[in-house]
């Protein structure tokens, strides 16, 4: 065994075994801090070796390597630990680019999400388009959580199916105007879930160029999809009103009311009425 392996063995020995029900027993916080500090001192090589020693999926064997990496990530996120956090994120990003199983990479992405450093975005962006639905989905969520939209916009036109939906879903709360043209294209996608996600993202943006396509979607689709586009239209109207586009907001509300004449849609017409009444206060 080399020196790094010796150090890892010593660190893992400091973690308790699972109990008889395979549940995690408590490790006193000061002992955990000590282990984390020692792993940081052992450096990136030790972190990568720990990942490679862990089972392909979380729970299939020795739980300790991944637990040690995670408790170290938590330790490195404390104020004053910025250098350790950068080292850890850099090691994980490098490990993500290497040859590893999907389960290992999903774990790495989860830890990068926890650490939250934008420096991990390029590696996460590569994971978006690496050809695995699962990893694309994990990476999209991580980029959303970290708040870096560039790799998501870049990937959007290269993807279809579930990965494309993952990317659109991650973009929605980020409200990036640069994403609007691609989202408007997605609003005409053959896949219903993609259209729903696109209308939601465009509504969050308050994108005026999407008003007519969104109203057309409201008119075209009924059932679940129709309910979701109606929701998007309400959010769109609220965003437009907040941005001072009162005429546009009124247009959306009015059309939404016209499209929902069923006796059981009274609640939606009430939403429209309240929205228009509020516009009177802002116009």
């Amino acid at each position: 065994m080399n020196k790094t392996t010796d150090r890892i063995e010593a660190l893992l020995a400091g973690l308790p075994d699972l109990d008889r029900h395979r549940k995690v027993d408590g490790l006193p916080p000061d002992e955990a801090d000590n282990l984390a500090q020692r792993l940081i001192e052992a450096g990136s090589e030790a972190i990568i070796e720990l990942i490679d020693r862990s089972p392909a999926e979380y729970d299939d064997g020795d739980y300790r390597p991944r637990y040690l990496v995670h408790l170290t990530a938590s330790y490195a996120c404390r104020p004053g630990m910025e250098a350790a956090r950068r080292m850890l994120a850099s090691a994980l990003a490098a490990a993500l680019d290497g040859e590893r199983s999907e389960g290992h990479k999903a774990f790495i992405i989860g830890e990068l999400q926890y650490l939250g450093l934008p420096s991990a975005a390029p590696a996460l962006g590569r994971a978006l388009v690496a050809g695995s639905d699962r990893l694309c989905e994990c990476a999209a969520r991580a980029l959303q959580a970290i708040g870096v939209g560039g790799p998501l916009i870049e990937a959007l036109d290269k993807l279809d199916g579930a990965p494309r939906r993952s990317v659109i879903n991650a973009l929605a709360p980020m409200k990036l105007a640069k994403a609007a043209p691609a989202l408007r294209t997605a609003l005409a996608d053959p896949d219903a879930d993609t259209r729903i996600l696109a209308s939601h993202a465009l509504a969050q943006l308050g994108d005026r160029d999407a008003i007519q396509p969104l109203l057309t979607a409201c008119q075209t689709y009924d059932g679940w999809e129709g309910i979701q586009h109606a929701r998007s239209a309400i959010i769109m109207a609220e965003r437009l009103a907040a941005a001072g586009h009162v005429r546009d907001a009124r247009r959306v509300y009015t059309r939404l009311g016209e499209l929902h004449k069923h006796e059981k849609d009274q609640y939606l017409r009430d939403v429209v009425q309240r929205g228009i009444a509020q516009l009177h206060g802002t116009s």
């Binding site: 995690v24 999926e57 938590s74 926890y114 699962r134 989905e137 006796e263």
Partner: protein, 414 residues
């Protein structure tokens, strides 16, 4: 399109009845229905989503004359007719003949189905815990308000609490904002099932044929199936719940949140004593101290870690109405004495009929669940966190905020 005049619904009928209550007085519903049965116009269409475990009991809590038109569960693959039995809740929510939705799925679905149901015009009774993270709670409360629907969470401790004048007065006083500073401590010890509902780490296996595993995972990551993730022990996985604290906390704290008006705000500082959390399964914790802006302190003690005798060092004190009242200036006492009593809490059925918020409405339930979420976040990040009750953001702590507002797996989103 229906002609005007045939467009009268049960709901618009009830709404109109508020203005013309004399009509109800003259012709009661039971007479219209005959033989003591509710009139057809007064019978609701209901559906239960999440049929195992608490499902049937939750449905009974609707407590309104209803016809159960649909049941839905992801474990019914190959056993559905898509007329009364479904695996996909979206098909249930599309139905215009369904007015009431009871939700008893695992918690990671509670917020999304509640919101979707209200978007579809339904009133909702949802099992506790209402949410899995703070951002979900705000979204449910916004949907309740935006769509004007009734929402009640499936815990009812506050109703009993509200029947005692002492508690109502205490709540009124603390909700008034007149108490700027107090030295109150409430300790809630035990009953959180910490070890019992922490997740086991077991090997992946093949999901049963009758289970739609992708739909079960829903907004949570699609991970390889492991048996304990489905059917009770799901509580021990962060993907679906918050352990015993997240799952039982809403029961334990609903009465406390009512009495001390903790459901009108949120803690500003949270400190936890716990071992480092595992990223996948929930685990042990010793105690959590949650401090409010006015000095009120809520302490949760597990009574399980590091051992059964472990204590936070805090004792319950200064909790009765007289204590708070005596903190007031003479002028503030006069202001308080002039305040009217709150309206009685409405149960779900009364709220639906009155078209008013239920006692356990989404805003109150969200604020109560925020206590558990903040406690779990402090446990998971391993440090004291500070929280802004207005913006609902953790202050200066991005890692903690990422746990308060979590991304979802497509196509699911708030």
């Amino acid at each position: 399109m229906s002609k005007v005049g045939s467009n009268i619904t049960r709901r618009s009928f009830l709404k109109g009845a508020a203005a013309t209550s004399a009509a109800f007085t003259i012709v009661p519903a039971h007479v219209l229905g005959g033989n003591g049965r509710p009139a057809p116009s007064d019978t609701f269409g209901g559906a239960l989503i999440g049929v195992g475990g608490m499902g049937p009991g939750t449905y009974r809590r609707l407590s309104l004359p209803n016809r159960q038109l649909a049941q839905c569960d992801v474990k019914w693959v190959g056993q559905v007719d898509n007329r009364s039995r479904y695996t996909d809740f979206r098909r249930v929510l599309e139905r215009k003949d369904i007015d009431l939705i009871a939700i008893a799925t695992p918690p990671h679905w509670h917020a999304l189905i509640s919101i979707a149901a209200m978007q579809a015009g339904k009133d909702v009774l949802c099992e506790k815990p209402m949410t899995r993270f703070i951002g979900e709670g705000r979204a449910v409360a916004e949907a309740e308000k935006r769509y004007g629907r009734v929402f009640q969470v499936g815990t009812f401790g506050r109703f009993g609490q509200s029947r005692r004048e002492e508690h109502r007065k205490t709540r009124r006083l603390l909700a008034s904002g007149l108490i700027k500073k107090c030295d109150t401590v409430v300790v809630r010890r035990g009953g959180f099932k910490v070890k019992e509902w922490s997740g086991p780490l077991v090997a992946p296996s093949t999901p049963p044929d009758h289970l739609d595993w992708d739909m079960y995972c829903g907004p949570s990551p699609l991970v390889p199936y492991q048996r304990p993730r489905f059917g009770g022990m799901h509580r021990g996985y962060w993907d679906y719940d918050g352990g015993g604290l997240g799952d039982m906390g809403q029961h334990h704290l609903d009465p406390i949140a009512y009495t001390y008006a903790l459901d009108t705000t949120a803690p500003v500082e949270v400190e936890a004593y716990a071992p480092p959390a595992h990223p996948i399964v929930t685990g042990m914790w010793g105690w959590v101290k949650l401090r409010y802006a006015n000095g009120f302190t809520l302490v949760l003690e597990s009574g399980e870690w590091p051992d059964r005798d472990a204590r936070s060092g805090e004792q319950t004190r200064n909790t009765n109405f007289e204590y708070f009242y005596n903190l007031l200036s003479e002028e503030d006492k006069r202001k308080f004495d002039a305040m009217p009593d709150e309206e009685p809490l409405l149960d779900f059925a009364s709220a639906v009929r009155a078209r008013k918020p239920a006692g356990g409405n989404a805003e109150a339930a969200h604020r109560t669940m925020t206590i558990m979420h903040l406690a779990n976040i402090a446990i998971r990040v391993g440090r004291t966190i500070r929280f802004d009750p207005v913006t609902e953001q953790v202050i200066g702590d991005d890692e903690a905020n990422r746990l308060a507002h979590q991304p979802m797996r497509a196509p699911w989103h708030l």
